[in-house]
Amino acid sequence: MQQGDRDYEWLEAVRSGDKKGLTRLYQYIMPSIVKLVVRYGGTEEHARDLFQDAILILYKKLQQSEITLTSSFSTFFIAICRNLWANHLKKKSNNHVTFSDEVKSMYDDQLDWHELEEKSLQVRMLYKAMSKLGDDCRQLLELFFLKVPMDEIMARMKYGSYEYVRRRKFMCKNKLIEFIKKDPSYKELTENQNKEL
């Protein structure tokens, strides 16, 4: 496979959320992300989070508009990770880590890095909160969020009445909101938003 084809394949995998393609990208690019993160005091776990954040950022961007690659996809992707990691370190300590902004600046006119990073942080925070719910609550909320009709929800969740479904949904949603409020990222996001206002 030629480099150009591979770049295109990976961009498409992110756009469409193709699991097979994303798995290939993960296998290919993780060693580089781990090296980057470990060099600056992080762990493999951080690298995995960074991979997810970077994919989400790209996914969100690609839902809005096209990206024209002016470098290889992997260079571009690593640049996103580097940028995210630098911001993470900046927030964690007063140590200012300087990364080369060469690649980042190549895409500045196409990406609002700050906005996309914030979006990604929000989504992952919500998802994390969802994963803390019990299976029953999570399934129920997912069905509601996906706008599955009430009758179908009752049947699928084996609930006896419409009223029970309604009450249980609010109970689960309130639990979810409780988890969100407790998440450290929530505080960070709220502070950022207040600063912007």
Binding site: M1, Q2, M30, S32, Q52, M130, F145, R167
Partner: protein, 272 residues
């Protein structure tokens, strides 16, 4: 209970489902109550972001993907060394292809001209003569596989900790079959540049020319390498197997266990 009622009210407000009067009351409360404003913002965020089915699936998939081990990183390969290896392989290949094949197989007196070149000339390999025995065979069995052909003689992973090269067979070596079996031997060397890879991780896999995607493809056979360490801390590998393969073009791919991309590749041809 109060929370539940509040949540319901917020949801109805978002869905534009309040009466005019209810809306007015709610908005007055909103303007004076920071907590209510915060709650409304979270509800809006949750509905918007978790209501995206595709995104939800993506997040589930990402969790699944990153919960699995990745192929450990290989350090950057010394480009000079690779270039030298490539040059040596190319030179060897050209010299070999210019030497008449040592074959006992009778050459048919008349062989049809192929419609298209079976093995298009590469910069580092010679073409098969149109009157060779191979040309008479089914051309699709000998058509180069673009996914693997471009990788011959190269070290594919730029960030790898293993650099490797085949010494034998040189690309496009012809092997003859005897009673349907061909003796396939391979040799080469590799170097481990950091601690993330082990010598036992080396895999030698044989693919046909029809595999279009190495990472999804299934190898025809796996060769067990014998590995020895030489005085320079390099590893020499060799493997040999007698196998039944139909005439065609095949590739030996050196890779690392659990890693679904080739590190280096060579090819050989089975002729009758």
């Amino acid at each position: 209970m109060k929370n539940m009622e509040e949540s319901e009210l917020i949801e109805r407000y978002i869905a534009n489902d309040l009466t005019e009067e209810e809306r007015m009351v709610f908005e007055i409360r909103l303007s004076a109550d920071d907590n209510l404003r915060e709650l409304l913002r979270i509800h809006q965020l949750v509905d918007q972001e978790l209501g995206d089915e595709k995104q939800l699936k993506l997040l589930n998939d990402l969790n699944d993907i990153t919960s699995k081990p990745y192929n450990k990183g290989l350090s950057r390969v010394a480009k000079g060394a690779v270039a030298v290896v490539c040059l040596l392989v190319s030179a060897w290949c050209i010299r070999y292809m210019l030497t008449p094949p040592d074959t006992q197989t009778p050459v048919p007196e008349s062989v049809p001209q192929p419609a298209e070149p079976l093995l298009p000339a590469k910069s580092d390999s010679a073409t098969i003569a149109p009157n060779s025995p191979i040309a008479a065979l089914n051309s699709s069995d000998f058509r180069p596989n673009p996914s693997l052909d471009g990788l011959i003689g190269t070290v594919v992973r730029g960030n790898g900790s293993i650099e490797a090269s085949f010494v034998k067979p040189v690309p496009n070596t012809r092997l003859l079959t005897q009673s349907g079996y061909a003796r396939l031997s391979t040799e080469g060397f590799f170097r481990i540049n950091d601690g993330t890879a082990k010598q036992d991780d080396i895999r030698l896999l044989v693919f046909s020319n029809r595999d279009t995607d190495f990472s999804a493809g299934k190898s025809l056979l796996s060769m067990n390498p014998v590995i020895k360490k030489d005085s320079n801390d390099d590893f020499l590998f060799s493997a040999s197997v007698s196998t039944r393969l139909k005439p065609g073009l095949y590739y030996i791919v050196l890779t690392e266990a659990g890693f679904n991309e080739p590190i280096t590749v060579t090819s050989f041809l089975i002729t009758q």
